[in-house]
Chain length 466, copies 2
Amino acid sequence: MSIKTLDTFFKPRGVAIVGARRSLGFGSGIPVFLQKKGWGDRIFLVNPSGGVLHGYEVYVRVQDVPAPVDLAIVIVPSASVPAVMEDIGARGIKNVIIESAGFAETGADGRALQERVRSIAKRHRMRVIGPNCVGVVNTENRFASVELLDESLIPGPLSIIAQSGVFGNILFDHLHERGLFVSKAVTLGNRIDVDESDMLEYLNGDPLTRVIMLYLEGAADGRRLKELLPVVTKNKPVLILKSGRTNEGKRATASHTGSMSGEDAIYNALFAQTGAVRAESLSQLIDLAQVFTTQPLPGGNRLGIITTSGSLGALATDVAVSSGLSVPPLSPATATRAREIAPGWMNVYNPLDLGPSANYAKLLPMLLADPGIDMVLAITVIPYAVVRQFKSTGMKVEDWFGNIASAAAQFPEKPLAVVVFGHHEFVQDIAALSGPSIPVFTEPEAGVRALAALWRYSTARERLYA
Amino acid sequence: MSIKTLDTFFKPRGVAIVGARRSLGFGSGIPVFLQKKGWGDRIFLVNPSGGVLHGYEVYVRVQDVPAPVDLAIVIVPSASVPAVMEDIGARGIKNVIIESAGFAETGADGRALQERVRSIAKRHRMRVIGPNCVGVVNTENRFASVELLDESLIPGPLSIIAQSGVFGNILFDHLHERGLFVSKAVTLGNRIDVDESDMLEYLNGDPLTRVIMLYLEGAADGRRLKELLPVVTKNKPVLILKSGRTNEGKRATASHTGSMSGEDAIYNALFAQTGAVRAESLSQLIDLAQVFTTQPLPGGNRLGIITTSGSLGALATDVAVSSGLSVPPLSPATATRAREIAPGWMNVYNPLDLGPSANYAKLLPMLLADPGIDMVLAITVIPYAVVRQFKSTGMKVEDWFGNIASAAAQFPEKPLAVVVFGHHEFVQDIAALSGPSIPVFTEPEAGVRALAALWRYSTARERLYA
C-alpha cells in the first residue's frame, strides 16, 4: 500500500502546480517544461492572483481545480505553505511535493513551521516529499517536478535518491555525458514524511530500476534502513555517497537539510553488513554507477590486467591487491598461447605488459578467456605522436587494439573496464571503440576500485542468499 | 660538475641519432621532429647502411660525424647497443640516451647485456640515460629526444622525472589540456647510470623549474634519495607517484624497468619526513601539480568553503577535516558583513551555503578577506536549466559568480580552488571565469585533498627551515 501511494508521485493522473507565477525564479519554469514534455493537458496552475499564464487559466485556490488531480507541487514561499497545505488537503489530493525552502534547515522558527506542515499533512493523510527539494523524475512517462535537459530524460537502469535538490539536478546535468541514464529520481529535502527507506522500498519493487544511487546526509530512521538495506541489496546494488563523516561535516548537514548524521563508523558497519556499496567521493559514485549498470558480477576476485604501459599496470596492480582483488599468474595454457605470438622482449605475466607490441587485439580475448581470470582491466595508452604516425599510414586505433566491444561481448560473464589517458582525441577514439557497454576510466586506480567494488558486492550478495 | 654534465642532455650543441632509419617504428620520427623544432643543423644521422635520409647524409659510424656533437641518442636494437656504445665512446661523446628496450626488464640475458653496456659507459666515462626510455625534453630550447605535440612544448614551471617512456609520453599528451606546462622532463628507464636523485639534484638547481613531479617504481639509491629529498623540498615541492606498494605491484615493476621497489612503509615514512608530497593516484598527481604550480603556500590550515550546494559543501567539509584541515566558524566581522546581505533563509556558517542566493560575487571576496581563513574552496554548481534561464535574460555566469580570477588576484597570499560539476558547457564557463591561475576540480573531494597537500607541504618546509 505504501508503495502504491508512492507510485502516484511518479505517475500522477493530474498535477496542481501551486505557486505558479510569471516572474522568473525557483520553480517558475515547471509549467512550460511539463507542457513541452507532453503533460499540457494534465497540469493545473494555482495562484491567488488568478488570471491566465502560459495559456492556462490560473486557479485562485487549489479547491477550484477540476478533477482528476492526485499530485500537488508546492513552490510558494515557506510562510504560505501551511495555508496551501490545508487547501490541498481539503481538495482531497493525497500526494504533495513541497519544493519551497526555509524550514528546519534555517533554525528554530523554520523547525516550528515545518512541524506545523507535518501535522497538517498527517491530519489529511497526505504523503509528502520535501520540503526543500525538487521532487521527482520519471523518464518512462517524461514526468518531472523539476526542469531538466532532454538528454537527462533518456530512460536507463539507474535510479537516484538524493537529499538535496541542487545535488540531484547537477547529477542529471552530468550523468548523460558519462553514458549514464536514469529511470527514476527523487530529492527528499527535509523529509517530513517520505524518506530514503520509503524510496528504497519503492525502487526495489520497480522493474525498470536495476541499480540504485543514494546520496545520504543522515538516515531518517536508522533501524528501518538497517532492516531494509539487505532486502534491497539482495535484489539490486545500492551505491551510497554519505556525508557527515566528521563533526564539522555533521554540522554542515544539519544546516543544510536539518539531518542528524550519526557516527560514521556505525554507517560504515551498516553498509558493510548489508552489502551496500559506499563511494568515497562524488567521482567514485559515478565510476561505480558506470560499472554496476554495465558489467556482470564477477565469479571471483582474480583480476587480469593487459596494458601498453608498465607503469600504469604496476599502479593498477597495487590498487587491486590493496582493494581485495588478486592479480594471479596467467593459466599455463594462456601463457603458452601468449608466448607463441609475443615478441622476445615481452614479459608474459599478469599484468600482461605489451609495450609497443601490436598484439593487443589477440591478447585481450586470450586474457578474457583465461579460466583463472574473473575480470579484466584493459589499459590502452599510446603516445599521441605514435597514434598520429600509424593513423597517417591509414591504420586505425581499432587495428591496434581490436574491437574492444566485440571482444567483451564474447565473454558476457566477465566484467571488463578500460583505462585510457593522454590526448583527448585518442581518449575519444578508445571510448568509441569500447562502446556504451564498457566503462572507460581515465586513471587505472579508479577503474580497479570500481571492479573491486563489484566483487565486494558480489560476495556480500552471496552471503545474503546463504 | 655532475650537474654540468647533466645539463648537456638538455642543451646539447650537436646530436648524433644512432639507428636513424626510414622504416616506421620506435624512434624513427625523431630526426624530422627535431628538424621541425629548429634543430636541423645540429642533428647527425647514423646508420651502417649509409645513404641519404630526410635530406641528410647518413653516417655509417658515429666516428664519421663531424664536430661538434656532445649527445648521442641510441635507437638501435638492444643486441647492437654494446658495439654502438664503443663507437660513441671512441668518438668522444660523453652524454648518451639509450632508448632501446630489451635489457634487464626481460630477464637474465637482458641483465647481462645491460651490464656490458654499463661497463662500456663507465670505461669511456659517459653519462647515460636509459636504456628502455624516451630520454629528455627541454621546452626552453625546444629540444626533445622523443616526438611531442607542439602544445607539449609550451614552457611552464613543472618538471617531470619518470621511469617509463610511455608514462612520460602520455603525461605530455594530456598535461597541456589541463593547463599544465613543462620546463624539463626525463624518462629514466632502467637507470644504468643517471637516476632520479641525479635528476632531482639537477632540477633543484634549475631556475626554470618550480615544481617537480616524480613517478618512481623503486629508488636506485635509497640512501642518496633520503639525503637529497629534504634538500630539494626545502627549495621546491616534489610530487611523487610511487608504484610497487604491494608484493604483486613490486613483481610488476621488476618486469617493467627491473626496479626493486622495497617496502612501501619505508617510502611512506621517507616521503613524510622529507616533505615530499605523495599522490595516491594518477589523477591526484595531476591535481597536485595544478595546485602547486598556481597557488601560494597557505599560512595556516583554516579552510573557508563557499558553495551553492549544501551537499557538496558537507562532502568537502568531511574530506577537509579528515585531511588535517580545519573548517572554522567565520570571524565575527565577516559573519556580520555576510548577514547584512544574506537572505533570511541563508545560514551564515562555514561552509557558506548560498543556495539560490545571488550573492556569490560579494561573498567570495568576503570569505577570502576573512583573517581567520587561510585558503578557500569555491564550489560553483547550478542546475543547467537555471543557467539557461538566466542566460536567456542576458545575464552571464560572471554576473552570478563575479569575476573569480579578479577576486583571487586581490588575495595573492591565499590559495583558492574552484569546484564545478554538471553540464560540460557550464563547467567550461566556470573554467573560463577562473582563468589559468586557479585550479578547477570536478569534485569537491579532489579539490580539498589538493589544498590539504599544499598545507602539509607548507608545514614540512617550515620544519626543514627550523
